[in-house]
């Protein structure tokens, strides 16, 4: 299997310094369209779609492999190996932040710095930990996805699913940036929102920047503070940006924060 094709890897910019941009649950590498081009002057940028998202090879989707964030992290390590990259910067949004931490531990030396945008190690409240949602709320989300009560009509899926070798068919659909096969979307949601990775935050040897939005319903401010406490030596920036996707809603603030961290 061609790894670069599998993950629809896009490489831009030039130079020895490499930045990975990883999208989260929801859309695809287009999430970085207002951020990554800015770094192309000074860096080689590597963007990709997680298998099951965007224009990745849907036939490579494995319900077993991707039931754990480790499966996605393995892909990230494979892409880097394929491109013979080491000592890179990893910028991950949402659930991909955690994948980046896992990948950094899997392959020491692969990443020299991590930027975690709107990260959360666990979305479910437990004892003193505030994740943002109760378990029943997360179950409600998964049920809604199961019953196809969210998103676009399920009948659109076979059009994309049936033509993995012709991704351009998927592109022609409106809303295609965030349109996934419903079965895969359900599964990715399950993997994302039921994962508890609080135990892997410690003991990371690379510098970390946490970008936390104010008023993010998915990853509330408490989560940002929690990660900052657990990750020794990490930097926490509480952004003016609201919502869950500062890379789209406040690209300038996001770019500046990353720049300052990279020049440190």
């Amino acid at each position: 299997m061609d790894i670069l094709k599998r993950n629809n890897v896009t490489i831009n910019g030039e130079g020895e310094n490499v930045i990975f941009f990883a999208h989260g649950f929801g859309c695809d590498q287009n999430m970085w369209r207002y951020v990554s081009p800015v770094f192309e002057d000074s860096h080689t940028t590597v963007l990709f779609d997680h298998v099951g998202s965007g224009n990745s090879d849907l036939s490579s989707y494995s319900f077993e492999k991707y039931s754990q964030l480790e499966g996605y992290a393995e892909d990230i390590v494979e892409i880097a190996k394929e491109l013979k990259i080491s000592n890179a910067v990893f910028v991950g949004h949402s659930v991909s932040s955690i994948m980046g931490i896992i990948a950094a531990k899997m392959a020491p030396g692969l990443f020299k710095k991590l930027v975690l945008v709107s990260p959360s190690p666990s979305y479910i409240n437990e004892d003193d930990y505030v994740g943002g949602f109760s378990r029943s709320e997360i179950n409600e989300l998964l049920d809604s996805l199961n019953d196809n009560h969210l998103g676009w009509s399920a009948t659109m899926a076979p059009v994309i699913m049936g033509n993995p070798d012709r991704p351009e068919l998927g592109k022609e659909l409106t809303n295609s940036f965030c349109k996934t096969d419903p079965e895969i979307a359900k599964h990715f949601a399950r993997t994302t929102f039921l994962t508890d990775k609080r135990d892997i935050l410690g003991d990371l040897k690379v510098p970390v920047l946490i970008l936390q939005c104010s008023n993010d319903v998915i990853a509330p401010v408490e989560v940002g503070h929690y990660m900052h406490r657990q990750m020794e030596g990490s930097q926490l920036v509480i952004m003016n940006a609201t919502g869950h996707c500062p890379n789209l809603s406040a690209p300038h603030e996001t770019i500046e924060a990353i720049r300052v961290f990279l020049n440190d």
Binding site: G24, F25, G26, C27, N30, M31, R33, Y34, S94, F133, E137, I138, E140, L141, D143, S144, L145, D147, N148, H149, L150, G151, W152, S153, A154, T174, N175, F177, C178, F193, N215, D216, V217, I218, T242, G243, H244, C245, L248, S249
Partner: protein, 369 residues
């Protein structure tokens, strides 16, 4: 005059906005609600004042909220709009109301969001309709699954049955053969011959059943092609048939100037089937013609008998398994011969076809090179 007109227009717009049957929501560039109409507020069991200032995703159930933040908000920023997305409004105690939502982002010259507009349509009936559709689809899928499993079991049963029947029959046949070498009375010898020929017929039928199972289960009959003298092969098959049907004439017309590549066992089986068919269905006092031709472009074998035309409706199913023509008293097989012959032709990348008119019927097996 101009003033009054615009006042009227503005009143009309307010009325349109407020008393519409769909929900309208306007939010600032960050997603904070600046205006929401009475209809949407009513669905949420409150008044517009209580909703102004909240974040747009607060209108939705937990699932909808997460979906909005992870899918719909990004879409607004990436492509400026989204449409026909199904979400549920937050539950105010009367159940979650399903809605369809369209969204639009107005941008300034620098591509920065100025405001967002959302239109919501109640979708309870449509949701019910979709659920029914999904239930029917699931039911159909389940049924299809059951059918397919049953078909596989059926065909596996046929294969096992055929295989297991062959062993005891083999015993009967060898015992018969040994017995015929002993001294027997004329009556016993006649009875032995009946046992022998009946066993042989049964053996052929079992072989046919197994070929059928092989063809249906294992993606067709497989062949092992070798270089063959076709004329010699055809003469042997024809002679065998002549022994079984001493009263009938088989005329041969061969134009074969080279060796051909084929599976001799399978081609013999095909020709034997066609000849037996021709003898059974042809007029009793007429001869059968066995023709063959091999050139650089193709090779073909044809079997022709005189007799009535095969009816059009029969032709359609002629090569299907278990097809029997009418209620002909001559019938004593399973109706698998032509199906298996057809499969043998296919395995040779050739075609078995039939041509039937008022006077004669001709089957042709042709392989193009």
């Amino acid at each position: 005059m101009t003033n009054r007109q615009s006042n009227n227009l503005s009143e009309d717009f307010d009325d349109f906005f407020e008393s519409s049957l769909c929900g309208f929501v306007i939010a600032d560039g960050n997603g904070k609600i600046t205006r929401i109409n009475t209809c949407a507020a009513r669905w949420l069991g409150t008044s517009p004042d209580h909703l102004t200032g909240k974040r747009i995703s607060d209108l939705f159930s937990v699932g909808g909220k997460i979906y909005f933040e992870t899918h719909l908000w990004p879409l607004l920023r990436i492509q400026g709009h989204f449409d026909e997305v199904s979400v549920e409004l937050t539950d105010t105690g009367k159940g979650k109301i399903p809605v369809y939502i369209n969204g639009y982002e107005r941008r300034d010259g620098n591509n920065q969001p100025l405001f967002l507009r959302f239109t919501l349509f109640q979708a309870a009936d449509r949701r019910l309709y979709e659920e029914n559709l999904q239930m029917s689809k699931k039911l159909a899928e389940t049924n299809l699954n059951i059918e397919q499993q049953q078909a596989v079991i059926r065909e596996q049963f046929i294969a096992v049955l055929g295989h297991d029947l062959r062993n005891p029959l083999g015993g009967i046949m060898s015992a018969t053969q040994l017995l015929t070498r002993s001294e027997l009375s004329d009556r016993d010898r006649k009875l032995m011959n009946i046992v022998h020929s009946s066993s042989k017929r049964m053996y052929e039928m079992i072989n046919n059943i197994m070929d059928l199972a092989r063809g249906r289960l294992g993606g067709g009959i497989s062949i092992i092609p070798v270089t063959v003298d076709l004329e010699q092969l055809l003469t042997e098959v024809s002679n065998e048939l002549k022994v079984s049907w001493p009263g009938r004439t088989i005329e041969s017309h061969f134009k074969i100037n080279r060796l051909i590549e084929c599976d001799p066992g399978r081609v013999s089986q095909l020709v034997s089937n066609l000849l037996a068919n021709a003898i059974t269905h042809g007029l009793a006092d007429t001869s059968i013609t066995l023709g063959a031709e091999a050139t650089d472009e193709f090779w073909e074998i044809s079997v022709t008998n005189s007799g009535q035309k095969i009816p059009e409706e029969s032709i359609k199913n002629l090569f299907n398994p278990f097809h029997r023509e009418g209620t002909d008293s001559n019938q004593n097989g399973l109706g698998l011969g032509l199906y298996i012959s057809y499969e043998i032709a296919k395995a040779h990348y050739g075609l078995l076809s039939v041509n039937s008119d008022e006077n004669k019927t001709c089957f042709t097996f042709r392989v193009s090179i």
